[in-house]
């Protein structure tokens, strides 16, 4: 966010919603063309289209600007002339003159090293790189057109122009530098320093360490019976048990029947990833990367990337946000579920939908569950705001618990980042609800394998804090109070913002501000209005109109309301 210093100082707008920049939509490895070959995920509706993916390119950092644009043919000669180094750019020319099998120099039209290793038998996939590295080796014995001589080693032939002097083979250099990492620094300007992540703020606009967390941290630091021995692969047992219990409820039939499992994970992201990796390997067949995965339109931008990187090839969206009525498009959602192939995986937001703040009502959840049961759709819940949304842990877990009571097998990725304010300790849990204990044990056994090659075993500190808190009635009660404090403040900001907008007579309806829930709200502002807010008012919203309610304070409410009023009345 590029708030002016003055803006930050006066308004305390430090974290009003999130980065000004559009969310990055990763299409997985290999660049745009590889993504197209995979069948690139459709852009998540409602989100700004990802910046144009220019695909992998050579590192052209050392070239004059003209050569960067003209790339290929000049690349070699320029980089040699200006640097004497070539490893940054041309694995092919770097091996010019080498005698390796089939390794005709790319300067002679050969594949160079950017193609397959000799003998590997796989075609080069470098579709977006120098023509010098076409991947089609030209054997030295290839017939030549009469009247021409083969290009001498080290030369670049372009048409019939004067032939350059043959160059001596350049020094060979290792190839890490030739990794054609996208020139992200140029295509996607980023803020220096920390990545922008939405977090709770106090009414002073400050981060908040929950009092119960401070207390427990002191207890842990003073407990000399504790050590730092490795946790089990699946995590701290007390944490896992309590975390799943929090999600499912003490009286959960699944807990009673001993058919739940838990995997302590690195925040909600880690839980999603482990769950996704498991499903890709073991669900609906072995290694069935073709199972469709449905993500709401819109959704948290990282959902798509996680499932792509877990290996799924068919990521789709299901209708969710109805921009016209500023609410849930239930009919579209149910329709997409009816039409989804059986056994498709659906990512459901347990509460406080990110980014719309719009959740199905209990009755709507019933309808959703009915369709999912009939269609054999697999529910994968993302629960990042339990307690933080409504102030009630039970209420915010209502959807998950309903599905469990309906007999579903499901995953629930839980994050304790927001409701414990433990963002940077990466406290998460993947709750598995299976058919029976035996089945769950097998699932966990496979999850261990996945964890073992990812983080081996999870970090202790955050899990200890949460486990200590949840297992003590007194600390648990304190924690619930702290959570309610945060939830109530956000709810207050919602109602205050709405009432100001209505008092100002801002065109449109504003009940969605209070009907939505959680950290985020879809204001309904269009991209031009958002731009106005950012540039003229220094209030930072996503292009989608998403605002982070945590950034509102009693001090800036008036300013924000007036700014929205201006944006809506002045900009169409």
């Amino acid at each position: 966010m590029s708030l002016t210093e003055k803006g930050v100082e006066v308004m305390g707008l430090g974290n009003i919603i999130g980065a000004a920049q559009a969310p990055r939509q990763s299409r997985g490895p290999g660049g745009a063309r590889a993504a197209a070959r995979r069948g690139a995920p459709r852009p998540v509706r409602g989100e700004q289209a990802a910046p144009k993916d220019e695909g992998p390119r050579l590192l052209l950092s050392k070239l004059p600007p003209l050569a960067r644009r003209w790339g290929s043919a000049f690349c070699y000669s320029f980089c040699r002339d200006s640097q004497g180094l070539r490893s940054l750019l041309c694995p092919g020319p770097a091996r010019h003159g080498e005698e390796g099998p089939g390794a005709a120099s790319p300067l002679e039209g050969g594949g160079g090293r950017a193609g397959p290793l000799p003998g590997s038998g796989r075609p080069a996939r470098n579709s977006n790189v120098l023509r010098l590295r076409s991947g089609r080796p030209l054997p030295r014995s290839a017939p030549r057109r009469s009247g021409t001589r083969p290009a001498a080693a080290g030369t670049v032939r372009r048409g019939r122009g004067p032939r350059r002097e043959p160059r001596p083979p350049p020094p060979r250099l290792p190839v890490l530098s030739t990794c054609r990492a996208r020139i992200d620094a140029e295509t996607r300007p980023r803020e220096a320093g920390r990545a922008r992540r939405a977090a709770y703020r106090t009414d002073e606009g400050q981060p908040w360490v929950l009092p119960v967390v401070k207390k427990v941290e002191q207890m842990i630091a003073n407990d000399h019976s504790l050590n730092h021995e490795y946790l089990p692969i699946l995590g701290l047992p007390e944490f896992r048990a309590h975390a799943s219990r929090i999600a499912l409820g003490d009286d959960s039939p699944a807990i009673k029947e001993n058919r739940i499992g838990s995997v302590q994970s690195l925040g909600g992201t880690g839980a999603l990833r482990i769950g996704a990796e498991f499903l890709r390997r073991w669900y609906n067949g072995n290694n069935n990367t073709a199972t469709p995965v449905y993500i709401s339109a819109p959704s948290w931008e990282n959902h798509n990337s996680v499932f792509v990187d877990a290996g799924f090839k068919d990521i789709r969206t299901y209708r969710y946000w109805d921009a016209a009525k500023r609410g849930l498009d239930l009919q579209g959602l149910l329709d997409d579920m009816e039409k989804a192939p059986e056994f498709s995986i659906f990512i459901l937001h347990a509460c406080a939908h990110n980014p719309t703040g719009t959740d199905p009502t209990p009755d709507q959840w019933k309808q959703i569950a009915a369709v999912m049961k009939r269609r054999f759709l697999f529910p994968f819940f993302d629960s990042a705001y339990q307690g933080f949304a409504s102030g009630s842990l039970d209420k915010d877990a209502g959807a998950v618990r309903y599905f469990v009571s309906e007999g579903f097998e499901l995953f629930c990725a839980q994050s304790f980042s927001k409701n414990f304010g433990l963002y940077n300790e990466r406290v998460g849990n993947l709750t598995v609800v299976g058919k029976d204990a035996d089945n769950v044990q097998r699932v966990l056994s496979q999850m261990e394998k996945i964890v073992r090659t990812t983080w081996s075993n999870p970090p202790s500190q955050g899990a200890r804090i949460v486990a200590t808190t949840l297992s003590s009635p007194q600390l648990f009660a304190e924690w619930k109070e702290n959570v309610k404090t945060m939830a109530d403040r956000v709810l207050l900001m919602r109602s205050e913002l709405r009432s100001r907008l209505e008092s100002l007579g801002t065109p449109g309806t504003w009940n969605h501000i209070t009907e939505q829930i959680g950290m985020f709200s879809f204001t309904g502002l269009n991209p031009k209005q958002v731009e106005y807010m950012i540039k003229e008012k220094h209030i930072y919203l996503m292009a989608s109109g998403r605002i982070n309610m945590c950034g509102l304070t009693t001090k800036n409410l008036d300013y924000v309301a007036k700014s929205i009023h201006e944006a809506v009345t002045k900009v169409q």
Copy 2:
């Protein structure tokens, strides 16, 4: 470890070497046959062959033992009879009678749901499952042999035996349970509770929280200026800078030239994984999973799994341990490097090779580096014991620094688990040494993408402890003392064990005990002798003869020496 209680009490043998069970060698997802199709990695030489991989099977938990062995044909009928439930076992029969497109019931020879989704066009890969789910759908209109009737819904046809009664379509149930997770609990008995991981022990056989760590933890708990806001994706900046500096040295040319990068990771495993994921995507072409990855024979068993799960298809071993001479097989190593395809990736142990404890001498490292440079081999160091091995941070980083001074681009996966005793806080760092700053920035930009879908941003506590320690001259000095304490105790145990064995006149030579370095030692005991040690003496070694020196104490040295003496003299 199944030490008798008495054994533990009397001998303090709590952690003498490591789990009794053989290391698991994961072959990646999909079971044995899928691994074979991929070209399964050759077993790492010197390690006990992995337990037989029985591949994925249906969950047969509810079947009588006889049916488990006879699997397929009985499966359906038994599970129905005994349970009334079918989802655990038969995704095919679960959908018996369903009208989905192309979904002929597997009981009629159809593909069932274990195969591809209708229309997905991909062949089923379930080679090791019920014949009922062959993946070859039999259309209902398929011609029948004269004289036979098609199997009625719900029946199992076996030869010409009496036809069973047609059963009503079973209730449809979701399919998480049909994930054919390997029956690990049955094939690989495990200890309940924590996974066995090697860690330092005091002379009392206890875990040790470093005094400097306790001190810094108190400081952190009492520092009210700290909060829990998300770290940047790449981690805590102070940690990253100090961690890389520790590995490369303050006077590193790479640091001076600003061409290093760092990624805070989840221990050494996380660093290896992020590095492996990057290389698979961006090294030697795009998404070039065919680049050979060479791992020493033997090595830490998780190395193989990490690179498999990162997507590499061609994992090989390079010769390392010479069992006959109980030392480094330098000639074999160099030979394998000469023959490796150019640009292969080599996993090198920076010091204290796990499990052999045998490191190349400085001169031997020079020879290794020379070959690697000439052959364009990429060095990926695993540095888990810096300081812990010899007691000197600089000495233990000698190999890495030498390669850097020779101009290599390289990765170095660092773990602070052992040298800070912070096993369970998952403190690691991936140091990247590139050609120039620009190149490194691009590499880091790509690493951010990989981190974002794995753990999003790393955990704070451990990194804070390390950063605080490394950035304070006084705490840094204290830490080095603590590290030396651990290293010296292990070195003392080595020399004491050796001198006892030599005093006893135990057949063979025992200088390797003191020539090897770090936590582990390859005793040279053969599997039968190891079995004797375990069964008769309750001393736990790996089948490879690997012993964890940290498990030795002044109290048990005599017992261990005598036991080795017996094993060597009585068992051949």
